[in-house]
């Protein structure tokens, strides 16, 4: 049997299915395991979110094993069908299972009055899930709009409240469903405790993200990327970005910026005090080459990762409209 292995920029070696779909700009290409892959044709597939960089035989003579280097994760494919399947599985586990439990309890003769709390928890989880699904659609629409913007220069991008709320709904959903399970088992008090814990996590999530670990808003300016943190503002000049790397599926792209000179960036911190520098240092990580790296999580500042990547690349090249 032929084994396919793939290298992912953001993780490591993984086994991939025997057939691998590679998305191109306009069509889907299927690379079958029962066909000897043509190295050159694979190397030419550069379009689309799954960029095949190279395919070279590894192991015994290259007959049985093929090593494919790609920079995205097929398990997190960006096709709407794949995404829908993921969403469906998630809701099946989190929402349908507790409902089935409640129905089973009713069938076993447990009084509806006793199950009231379980139904309430489940309703909260369901509301959170519905909000998340709606917000996913809004976000996809936002991504589409942002990707078609001619220029991103001069616009201050800040994460909208509905997007912040979206992240908080995930613990609410899980907590509500788990609490419903406990309430169905006749332990509504434990359910309360479980739900409160997850609700506190939900409240803490946006605070962790925008309260210090990630930028609150960003502006692509003529000279560089202006980043606004909760306590500090600083400019990453285009000339100081050595390398930009994107990771993650198409709808959830994170960016890793490798910087040449972190000291001059730290010097540009406003206000110029130690607290501001400390916060910027939390965002910057030292990299192998002696420089620094800035990891921008997906949808930082409410901006789609691909759109931001395009904006930064245009900024580095100096080709973005409004820059001259």
């Amino acid at each position: 049997m032929r084994t396919w292995r793939a290298y992912f920029a953001h993780s490591s070696w993984r086994r991939v299915p025997n057939s691998l779909e590679v998305r191109r700009a306009s069509c889907w290409r299927r690379v079958r395991s029962n066909r000897q892959p043509d190295q050159h044709s694979l190397r030419r597939v550069h379009d689309g979110p799954w960029i095949l960089q190279a395919a070279r035989p590894v192991g015994g003579g290259g007959e049985d094993r093929v090593k494919i280097l790609i920079v995205s994760d097929p398990s997190e494919g960006d096709s709407s069908r794949h995404r829908n399947r993921q969403v469906f599985r998630r809701y099946l586990a989190v929402l349908v299972a507790p409902v089935a439990g409640i129905l089973l309890a009713l069938a076993l003769g447990i009084s509806p009055q006793r199950l009231r709390r379980a139904v309430e928890f489940q309703a909260v989880a369901l509301a959170a899930a519905v909000y998340f699904m709606m917000a996913l659609r809004w976000r996809a629409r936002t991504a589409k709009r942002q990707r078609h913007l001619e220029s991103l220069v001069g616009i201050r991008f800040t994460t909208p409240f509905w997007m912040t709320l979206m992240e908080a709904t995930i613990p609410i959903e899980v907590g509500g469903a788990l609490a419903a399970v406990f309430a169905t088992l006749g332990l509504p008090g434990v359910g309360n405790g479980v739900f409160i814990t997850f609700a506190l996590f939900a409240l803490a999530l946006p605070w962790f993200k925008s309260g210090g670990l990630q930028p609150r808003s960003i502006v692509l300016e003529r000279h560089g990327l202006q980043i606004f943190m909760s306590r500090a503002t600083f400019l990453v000049p285009w000339t100081s970005i050595a390398h930009i790397e994107s990771m993650g599926p198409e709808h959830f792209v994170a960016l890793n910026l490798t910087l040449k000179d972190s000291e001059s960036i730290l010097d540009s911190a406003q206000p110029p005090d130690s607290k501001a520098r400390e916060q910027i240092k939390m965002l910057m990580q030292s990299s192998r080459g002696g420089g620094a790296q800035v990891f921008l999580m997906p949808w930082v500042g409410g901006l789609d990762g691909r759109a931001l990547e395009r904006g930064i690349r245009a900024g580095i090249k100096g080709t973005a409209p409004g820059m001259n």
Binding site: S12, W13, L178, G189, V190, G193, I196, L200
Partner: protein
């Protein structure tokens, strides 16, 4: 950093403060049953916080002692259990006041629910951290042997580019940068695809390209600056000092 209250101290103060409030409320005869349950959680939290405080001071002493001694060669060095236990106990110390407040306002069951869910989340996260982080290691003549769950591998001294201390003052890590990962991947034991995948994930590189590995605070029970210095000394001994 001066004047900043440490997390453990903050937890201890919160637990003690709430415990005092609960005892006072009990004395006034307010909801004695609920407050007793809350006080139980707070006593648990106070004990955990005290453990955290002691751990901090013991670790400081240990670090001071390690500065003057040499790291043992050829033996597997593991973090002692009393240091490993510090993580979950710190989480217990932080969640006990929440559980106490919830049980004082609601019911004892709710407090149990808070602690149970925090414990479940901690166990889940801890499982993944344990699976993918190197907590024990051995200084061998050929290189640094690192142990992951079910597997071990050797990073030759010549493959190490640098060993630096990163992170915050309270959470120091050792970042070992590698020129190449091919030799480390070739030394994986047992040599199976799954184990190689796991090692490649830990090395941030599976195709032989440069990689890096992060060693947790108190990995192998050694203070991060001491560990970084010991690795550097071995690199220099292997003739690598001149390469940098």
């Amino acid at each position: 950093m001066a004047g900043k209250v440490r997390w453990d101290t903050g937890c201890l103060l919160a637990n003690l403060g709430l415990l005092g409030a609960a005892v006072w409320a009990c004395h006034l005869g307010l909801g004695a049953h609920r407050l007793r349950t809350a006080a139980t959680f707070l006593v648990l939290g106070t004990i955990s916080s005290l453990y955290g405080e002691l751990l901090f001071h013991f670790c400081k002493t240990r670090a001071r002692r390690q500065k003057e001694s040499r790291v043992a060669r050829g033996v597997r060095l593991r973090p002692p259990l009393w240091i490993v236990a510090g993580g979950p106990i710190a989480i217990l110390a932080a969640s006990a006041p929440v559980a106490a407040m919830v049980s004082a306002v609601g019911s004892g069951q709710a407090g149990v629910g808070v602690l149970a869910s925090v414990a479940a989340l901690t166990a889940t996260v801890g499982y993944f951290v344990l699976r993918h982080s190197c907590r024990s290691l051995a200084f061998e003549p050929g290189g640094l042997r690192l142990y992951l769950v079910e597997t071990s591998f050797v990073i030759p001294w010549k493959s190490i580019a640098s060993a630096d201390v990163t992170g915050q003052a309270e959470w120091k890590l050792v970042e070992v940068a590698l020129f190449e990962t091919a030799s480390a991947l070739a030394s994986v034991q047992p040599d199976t695809l799954r184990m190689r995948q796991r090692v490649a994930l830990a090395l941030y590189g599976g195709d032989g390209s440069p990689g890096r590995i992060l060693l947790d605070q108190w990995a192998a029970g050694i203070d991060a600056p001491v560990l970084a210095r010991a690795i550097k000394a071995e690199m220099a001994g292997a003739g690598i000092g001149g390469l940098n």
